[in-house]
């Protein structure tokens, strides 16, 4: 069997290794235009901050691919012919496949702000190796930077720029930082923390126009509020979108909406073509969704490979979880978070003496979501408790088991318990 994978990211590479583990004789080719070898995109910020080299970002030793007989092709795919089962590459070469996996990932979302199109220098994203190269190129000639977008990539870029001693203005559209994942109380802790690092974080600011100098270099942005922020570097981090635009114009495009539409077994609308990872869009509870998280891409990559091998696969995303680090504050989240569901009640408590907090959301007597800040927790416990529909009492009483902090540094659960008691029956105390 001849397998070809487009994209050498985590979905593509996991798929390739899964295929190899199961089919020792198969031919496996992985094509990437971005890099020679699989690297960890999530660690771009550490390369930017001099904590790692680009080589350090590679999760496998290079010889692994030779040993696993995975042919790596460094090229861009420009055409897909699903009837002939061939791919045409930018170099002019043609590659034939029997089974194809599209794992092209995503790119930084671009919006059509006035002025943006004509910007010749100073506008950066922070998703690809090219983006990093751009950032590093304009860093020395920058003293003030503006970053737009209140998500994870935004705060990472902000941290990098602060590290390089830039005066950073961080513009967030919503009234508080990252309302998609954080309630106001947590967001306040994070906002205060980010500001303490010298970053000027502004809520309720939306870009209206990108201002350019005579040479085409960014010289600032004007917000809808009318405020102007001067900068020589504008970081756009308003999310990521499936990298599928190139597929819309190939000879036989698969069905694409936001991403490549796939069945629960990762089949696209084309025969013998599957898609997985950030670029795939699948149905969940009657809605079409794209999962753009490292671990979901990894999981999808493995399952898509198994589907390609002929296994019966039915993908159902597990209970949502994620983790992050905002400068020094760690964050773990599981289940339904963000806007609390109707009829739910929420216990929130700040852990005294730490930039840390605990949030537990309960609906109809069962915990549905947990949001933790400033301490380490094992999300698998939360997943289990949510699946088992445990009550808030149960979760608080067992919270100790889920602690994952370093030795000598466990959060004082007693404080959380006391606060919970108070919250549950304020009269009795």
């Amino acid at each position: 069997m001849r397998y070809v994978i487009i994209g050498n990211g985590v979905a593509g590479t996991t798929a390739a290794l899964t295929l190899r583990a199961r089919e020792p004789e198969a031919e496996i080719t992985m094509i990437s235009g971005e890099s020679d070898y699989f690297f960890s995109r999530t660690a771009l910020m550490y390369a930017y901050m001099d904590r790692m080299t680009l080589r350090d970002l590679e999760p496998h030793e290079r010889k692994v691919f030779a040993k696993q007989r995975i042919d790596l092709v460094r090229d861009w795919v420009v055409d897909l012919d699903a009837t002939e089962r061939t791919l045409r590459l930018k170099s002019g070469k043609t590659i034939a496949y029997e089974r194809l996996l599209l794992a092209t990932g995503s790119l930084g979302t671009r919006l059509d702000w006035p002025g943006l199109q004509s910007a010749k220098e100073g506008v950066v994203h922070f998703v690809t190796l090219d983006d990093l190269a751009q950032c590093e190129r304009v860093t020395p000639s920058t003293s003030e930077a503006v970053v737009v977008g209140g998500g994870l990539i935004g705060v990472e870029l902000v941290e990098c720029l602060a590290f390089h001693g830039k005066k950073v203005t961080y513009l967030v559209r919503s009234p508080w930082y990252w309302p998609g994942a954080l309630a106001m109380e947590e967001s306040e802790i994070i906002t205060e923390h980010i500001r303490r690092h010298g970053v000027d974080l502004r809520g309720t600011e939306e870009v209206d126009e990108v201002l350019l100098g005579a040479d085409g270099r960014v010289r600032g942005v004007r917000a809808k509020s009318g405020a102007e922020f001067g900068c020589q570097m504008l970081g756009i981090a308003i999310g990521v979108s499936p990298a599928v635009d190139w597929l819309r114009t190939v000879k036989t495009p698969p069905k694409i909406e936001r991403g490549i539409r796939v069945s629960p077994s990762f089949e696209t609308s084309l025969p013998a073509v599957w898609a997985a990872g950030d670029c795939a869009e699948f149905a969940q509870d009657g809605e079409w969704v794209v999962e753009q998280i490292w671990y979901s891409a990894k999981r999808q990559g493995e399952l898509a490979a198994r589907a390609m091998l002929g296994d019966r696969v039915r993908y159902e995303p597990p209970i949502f979880y994620n983790s992050a680090k905002f400068f020094e504050i760690e964050y773990t989240s599981t289940g339904s978070i963000g806007k609390p569901p109707e009829g739910s009640r929420t216990f929130f408590c700040r852990i005294p003496g730490k930039e840390a907090s605990v949030r537990i959301v309960e609906q109809n007597g069962a915990v549905v979501g947990v949001n933790m800040l400033g301490a380490r927790w094992d999300h698998t416990f939360f997943e289990r408790w949510i699946t088992e529909r445990r009550s808030m009492d149960y979760v608080v009483n067992h919270l100790r088991e889920a602690q994952f902090d370093v030795e000598f540094a466990r959060v004082e659960i007693a404080a959380v318990e006391a606060s919970y008691k108070q919250w549950r029956s304020p009269v009795s105390s």
């Binding site: 985590v10 590479t13 996991t14 290794l17 899964t18 190899r20 583990a21 199961r22 960890s40 999530t42 660690a43 550490y46 390369a47 930017y48 901050m49 001099d50 904590r51 790692m52 350090d56 970002l57 590679e58 999760p59 496998h60 030793e61 692994v64 040993k67 696993q68 950032c135 590093e136 860093t139 020395p140 590290f163 390089h164 001693g165 490292w294 671990y295 990894k298 999981r299 493995e302 490979a305 979880y321 983790s323 992050a324 680090k325 020094e328 760690e330 773990t332 380490r376 927790w377 094992d378 999300h379 698998t380 994952f404 902090d405 370093v406 030795e407 000598f408 540094a409």
Partner: protein, 364 residues
């Protein structure tokens, strides 16, 4: 990308095998050679009122640990494991490895280092030396080496010694902290480590046995006595002077801080074997690793921690000294050092696991 500025250039160059790092290496190895084979530091020691060049060396070494330790305490002040561990290692060095031997010597008592044990401190097990000491020292040496070290190793892993007590680890984890990432993570380096460290251990055990035999036989076999003495001199030169001193500390700026501990220390080899059967492990949180690689990058023992973390595989590696820096640098809180009652047999496996989830294993 290196931060702008001359000072940033210098710190980067010093910590990334730049010109200044090579210069520092030449200086450090030179320092050890001068210390071992000349009397230059004897006069320096006398000039500042110390009795010998070794006391002077002890003072320099202890100062490096204390000053470096203060920086480390500041750097990792948010992490209590690091704060406690660093404080202990500084205390042990200042008290047990420097002050107490100096005080003992001042009162004309045997100069004994209570923080060192066989097989690292080889002399304490040489019958010709130890049996001349008072009984307390003999008991401490034998019970310490043969009972205390392995028992604590079973319960807490080798970390109780290698990153909490030992001076070699003490220097690596304090003054050496900015160089910890230089240790090679390649599988070839791992292969070398396994062969080298077990060879030294074997030689060390053989030499110890030979010393006891020679002592038992006494004057009846002068040829054996000569051979044993030659063997001991050779070991002292190659292992103690060269590998632990000149190579082990001298090459810090090029090869990282644990060259000795990782590749040559017989005590680390022995404790590593104990660790494999003990309770210590690094627990990996399921499916939370983003393969960023900070854990591997900052592992001073050259363990590719990421290969386990991304395979969702809790593990115990013989070489792990439990410094806890992998857990410290992990941006997703995936790793935790633990002493657990029971471990899964797979945690001890030496085979690498494919990144694919679900345990599909590939011999890489």
């Amino acid at each position: 990308m290196v931060r702008e500025g001359k000072l940033s250039w210098l710190t980067h160059d010093l910590t990334h095998r730049g010109v200044t790092a090579w210069l520092l290496t030449v200086l450090l190895t030179g320092f050890y050679l001068v210390l071992y084979y000349t009397e230059v530091f004897t006069s320096v020691a006398r000039a500042i009122g110390l009795d010998s060049k070794w006391t002077f060396y002890g003072l320099v070494y202890t100062s490096a640990i204390v000053v470096g330790g203060i920086f480390v305490l500041r750097k990792y002040r948010h992490n209590r494991y690091q704060v406690v561990r660093t404080s202990v290692v500084m205390f042990v060095q200042a008290v047990f490895a420097f002050s107490i031997p100096a005080i003992l010597k001042f009162f004309h008592q045997p100069e004994y280092y209570f923080s060192y044990f066989w097989p690292l401190k080889f002399d304490d097990f040489v019958p010709g030396t130890i049996f001349h000491l008072p009984l307390v020292y003999i008991l401490y040496s034998f019970l310490g080496s043969l009972l205390l070290v392995p028992v604590l190793g079973i319960f807490f892993g080798k970390r109780w010694y290698c990153s909490w007590v030992c001076g070699c680890g003490g220097l690596a984890n304090t003054a050496g902290d900015p160089l910890r990432h230089l240790t090679s993570k390649s599988s070839a380096a791992w292969k070398f480590e396994k062969i080298a460290i077990h060879t030294v251990l074997t030689v060390c055990v053989a030499l110890t046995a030979l010393l006891f035999v020679t002592w038992g036989v006494g004057n009846r076999a002068p040829a054996l006595a000569r051979f044993t003495s030659g063997f001991q001199t050779f070991y002292a030169f190659l292992v103690v002077a060269m590998l632990s001193g000149v190579v082990g500390a001298g090459l810090y700026p090029i090869g990282g801080t644990r060259i000795w501990c990782r590749n040559f220390c017989p005590m680390a080899a022995l404790l590593g074997l104990v660790q494999k059967f003990g309770r210590f492990r690094i627990t990996v949180k399921d499916n939370m690793c983003i393969s960023c690689g900070l854990c591997s990058k900052y592992c001073e023992m050259g363990i590719d921690v990421r290969s386990y973390a991304q395979a969702n595989q809790s593990f115990t590696r013989a070489s792990c000294v439990g410094c806890g820096l992998c857990a410290e640098v992990c941006p997703r809180g995936v790793l935790r050092l633990e002493n657990v009652r029971r471990r899964h047999p797979q945690e001890l496996a030496l085979v690498q696991i494919s990144p694919a989830r679900g345990g599909s294993r590939v011999a890489i």
